[in-house]
Amino acid sequence: MKSEFLLQIKELKATIDNKEILKGLNLEVKPGEIHAIMGPNGSGKSTLANVLTGRDIATVTHGSVTFEGKDLLVMSPEERAREGIFLSFQYPIEIPGVSMVNFMKTAINEQRKHRGLEPLSASEFLRQMREKKELVEIDSALTNRSVNEGFSGGEKKKNEIFQMAMLEPRLALLDETDSGLDIDALRIVANGVNKIRRTDTSVIVITHYQRLLDYIVPDYVHVMYDGRIVRTAGPELALELEERGYDWIRKEADVNEETWTTDRK
């Protein structure tokens, strides 16, 4: 049975070293929607991204995650990627000795194999590389180097979006892709994301700053605090957070928590 949701997260709890980091998180994303997740440092945003992409740093202890109705949590990281999940890493990894070209060629062809397609021809692959490089205004020389090796912070982030452009995911998770970017780079990255998106591509943008959301306009803004989504509203919430900071969210959440625990007593 096909779900109307692309991604459905229910009561998700996860621990790192026996410490609960995600404490019952709910989120539903329909095809084509853009969701922003904001929230103070340490509230579990990257942990959520890790759990969704199958990185084994965190252990899921409760709840479910489905992607197009399929149980996501039983899939390996590579299966999730082939199903169409893409993470733009908060901290992209340097891989000396593995060339960008070989990396992308392998990734694309593994994903094509999964969809029953022939490997891309060398010329078609190069054409796509060229086209997508222009899209994110990435320096041509970078793709002749090893993956992220010696890239500046901004180049690494652009490289994430370049990979996203090559792989054309159904759901893109952008984990603080805007952090550390100057305004020009930010515009390039945001425009890149917009150009890559098809109408049914969904995006979850994890960010601290309203400014990215001027370019990638979200349908929903969620605030995450202490392992949960504590507030959901439209784009105006991001503006409010920009003005007022997170303290009021914290207070509100802590009050709710108290009431909740008192009620239970």
Partner: protein, 452 residues
């Protein structure tokens, strides 16, 4: 029980018993050094683990084996060797195949290549260039207390001679394929000399293959003289089987403003030990020692490197990397000695290893002795697993775990391979290493037996 006295006895018997044959079949210059070397060997014996340079390498597996042939000056049957085709076919090199250390019949003489470079047997060289051979033979060997070097001097009867006279250069690399093929178990020793005179250039590719499943042990000594303003490169590709032992001692002696590099690529071999000695004897010189070793099963691969900075303002690098699987083991012993006069020295050393199994083992040991004060010296060693973060990064793009691991291992190895100075060869080695890591490498390309 110590296996060595019996082996030494046997070698002594052969030495004394075959003395006449030795003398008759060898260049006179070889004979002149034999007796002293033989005594030195008896004094030092076969190195055991009490010898610092062999601390992690047990030679018993190779030296304790009862070989049928220890010394065979008779011409070899070259029919098998003629069938051999190097896997690196598209490589543009000048090529010669040696069988069990012997030259093909009719090619014992010296050949002059375009550009004025001489190649051939030591025997022929001793006749044609007696003064030159005398000047360099047995002059650059060191080995401190390693008995295997004098053992070679005492018992080797021939080997390769390469000579680039002043101002000569040959555009192609010279490829020597050392084949081992026999219906008997053989212990062979070859003795090689390379002379690159002032302002000359030479690039040597040595491929070691065993193409029949017998037990083989080779103890090779190669002396290299690199004159002023000259350039020398040596690349060894070792692809032997689990029953073979390969011991090499390479002594590279450099004069001022010279450049040398050594690349040891060990893809297979039961027991392999490469000792590479770099003597920077003239100022403003540069020397590089690279090594890549891939081991599995019960294999043991050791690299010993010593760089002597005996002159001011020289640069040296040592970069060795290994991937060890199953029950294999490896050893790296890298030494840097900076003499008192060697001001302005730049010396770099690095050894990185990936262990793929819990049983695999690697011992790595830097040794630095620095007697000058204006010296930049750095060294580092790692033994570990594949980087989990990198692995996840690749998988998160849809690359399956096995392929991602291979890509990482291959990237790790490429760091050494990229230093191979010949492009076509670099690509081929990349290819061979990929195949080897995938478990697809035909271990003995032209052999029907497919042992192991």
């Amino acid at each position: 029980m110590d296996y060595r006295p019996e082996v030494i006895n046997k070698l002594s018997e052969i030495y004394s018993g075959s003395h006449g044959t030795f003398l008759k079949n060898s260049p006179e210059i070889f004979n002149r050094h034999r007796e002293t070397a033989y005594k030195e060997f008896l004094r030092l014996g076969i190195p055991d683990r009490k010898n610092e340079a062999y601390k992690y390498t047990n030679l018993e597996k190779s030296f304790g084996y009862p070989y049928q042939v220890y010394y065979s000056p008779v011409p070899q049957d070259f029919r098998e060797a003629e069938k051999f085709h190097c896997e690196v076919e598209d490589l543009d090199v000048w090529n010669m195949v040696l069988l069990n250390g012997f030259f093909p019949r009719g090619e014992e003489g010296l050949v002059m290549l375009p550009g004025g470079i001489w190649v051939g047997s030591m025997k022929a060289a001793a006749k044609q260039f007696p003064g030159l051979v005398e000047k360099h033979y047995n002059k650059y060997v060191q080995g401190e207390n390693d008995g295997l070097v004098p053992l070679n001097t005492a018992m080797a009867s021939d080997g390769l001679f390469l000579y680039a006279p002043k101002n000569t250069a040959y555009t192609k690399p010279i490829q020597i394929v050392n084949l081992l093929h026999s219906d008997q178990d053989i212990f062979a020793q070859d003795r090689n000399l390379v002379v690159v005179e002032d302002r000359a250039q030479l690039s040597l590719l040595v491929c070691d293959h065993a193409i029949s499943p017998q037990h083989f042990l080779t103890n090779t000594v190669t002396e290299v003289y690199v004159g002023q303003n000259s350039r020398f490169e040596i690349i060894r590709v070792q692809n032997q089987h689990n029953n073979s032992g390969k011991i090499t001692h390479t002594f590279i002696h450099q004069e001022r403003d010279s450049y040398a590099s050594s690349n040891n690529i060990t893809l297979h071999g039961g027991l392999v030990r490469n000792a590479t000695w770099h003597m920077l004897n003239g100022e403003n010189s540069e020397t590089h020692s690279y090594g890549l070793y891939l081991a599995d099963k019960q294999q043991h691969i050791a690299n010993f490197v010593k760089v002597d900075h005996a002159a001011p303002n020289c640069n040296s690098t040592q970069l060795f990397k290994g991937v060890l699987d199953e029950n294999s083991s490896g050893a790296f012993n890298g030494r840097i000695m900076v003499h008192k006069i060697a001001q302005g020295t730049n010396a770099y050393q690095s050894n990185n290893n990936i262990l793929l199994s819990d049983a695999a083992r690697m011992d790595t040991k830097p040794q630095l002795e620095i007697y000058a004060d204006d010296v930049k010296c750095s060294h580092g060693a790692t033994v570990g697993q594949l980087d989990n973060n990198a692995l996840f990064y690749l998988r998160s793009r849809g690359i399956d775990a096995r392929e991602a691991k291979l890509m990482l291992m291959f990237g790790f190895a490429h760091d050494v391979i990229k230093n191979i100075p010949i492009e076509a060869l670099r690509e081929r080695i990349d290819n061979l290493v990929q195949k080897r890591l995938r478990g697809e490498l035909s271990r003995c390309a032209s052999c029907a037996i497919q042992c192991n």
